[in-house]
Symmetry: C2
Subunit: 218 residues, 2 copies
């Protein structure tokens, strides 16, 4: 039986070619690498998120025999533990209210078996926010973006349109000044409700589909 | 001049050995891979966070010539954009209050040039929370953990002690029933203050050092 995604963690001394040797072993057993994180310097820990492995213990043993590796372990994948991510960007008084709504709603869904995380970066400035919006496309497990603030437009609007087109990640905007609300999938006036709706729209336990909404401003 | 960490993004058709070929090119120019995220299926996007590269444009061109690669780009690293992460785990009414405090405080520091994210997963159940506490060690850029709830002990306490010992990630616990407060670096009664203190303790713009606190319960 092929396993779901698992995290294979290895510890050891870093050396040239170590990552290549590990990924080659994963490819040899037909595993698909879905993400890798690395921590440490010369003594390195690598965490490989791998799907499609038939015999996880066999792969762990193979990894443990790679030159320089001193310890190995198998864990649940980050996707299984932390699940889908609501990303909240923006600044000021509203961002904390969006997160309040999103976290309270995620708690209600997670108690019924969902795994939804709420991840926030408070930021100000058109350039910084636009850059962060674009970077959401590169965040693992990002499922929806909420923009919280009182004025966003210009470069941020361009970044929102790019994110929606290239990554299919939906965007909820607070009702605010500037052109960002026109570029978003949904505009919500109350910040707590914006957070709640973001979670509802990605929860399998909720019946709420952004694409089916007739009223895109509320 | 050697660059800071940059994100090299490539798009193309996935094939056996693609990751190996890319990582070999990075190693050839003396780059250190600090993380990799992958999205997509057959049409894949890979984002390699790389430090120590002298000529980023030269590496981008080399990556663009790898078989199967159709597009490449260079971005700021996730570390530069999303910064250090406060991780908040737990459930119920308190978790949203911890996040409220942390996000408001992060907003104040980020406005002065910090980059601090606040990432939350509402979870209940001893096993699930213990597993998530252990997984914090494998989350990129995790700087501190806050545990929010009314009762935590048993396996969660073991996981907290492991996290502190193996990863040096400090742990703040709400004042609650169970043995987790005894295992934490700091115990805080008010959830909003717990969130604020978590951000203060990792902000370079704040003078607050958990290690120098004489009173570990407040």
């Amino acid at each position: 039986m092929t396993s779901d995604t698992l995290c294979f963690s290895v510890q050891g001394s870093d050396r040239s070619g170590l990552l290549r040797d590990l990924t080659t072993l994963v490819a040899n057993v037909g595993g698909n690498i879905e993400g890798i994180s690395l921590t440490g310097g010369r003594e390195v820990e690598m965490h490989l998120e791998v799907s499609g492995v038939e015999d996880a213990e066999e792969l762990r043993i193979a990894l443990s025999q790679v030159e320089g590796i001193s310890a190995t372990a198998i864990y649940e994948s980050s996707a299984a533990i932390f699940g889908k991510r609501v990303i909240v960007l923006g600044g000021g008084a509203q961002i904390a209210q969006v997160v309040l709504g999103a976290v309270s709603e995620a708690d209600r869904h997670n108690i019924r078996g969902e795994r939804i995380s709420v991840d926030t970066i408070p930021l100000v400035g058109e350039g910084k926010i636009a850059e962060a919006v674009r970077a959401v496309a590169r965040l693992p497990r990002a499922a929806i973006l909420v923009l919280a603030g009182s004025l966003m437009g210009g470069e941020i609007t361009t970044a929102v349109l790019e994110l929606r087109r290239l990554s299919r990640i939906p965007v909820i905007s607070l009702n605010m000044a500037g052109s960002v609300p026109d570029a978003a999938d949904l505009v919500v006036t109350d910040p707590v409700q914006a957070g709640v709706m973001a979670v509802m729209s990605i929860a399998d336990t909720a019946k709420f589909d952004l694409a089916r909404l007739k009223n895109r401003r509320m």
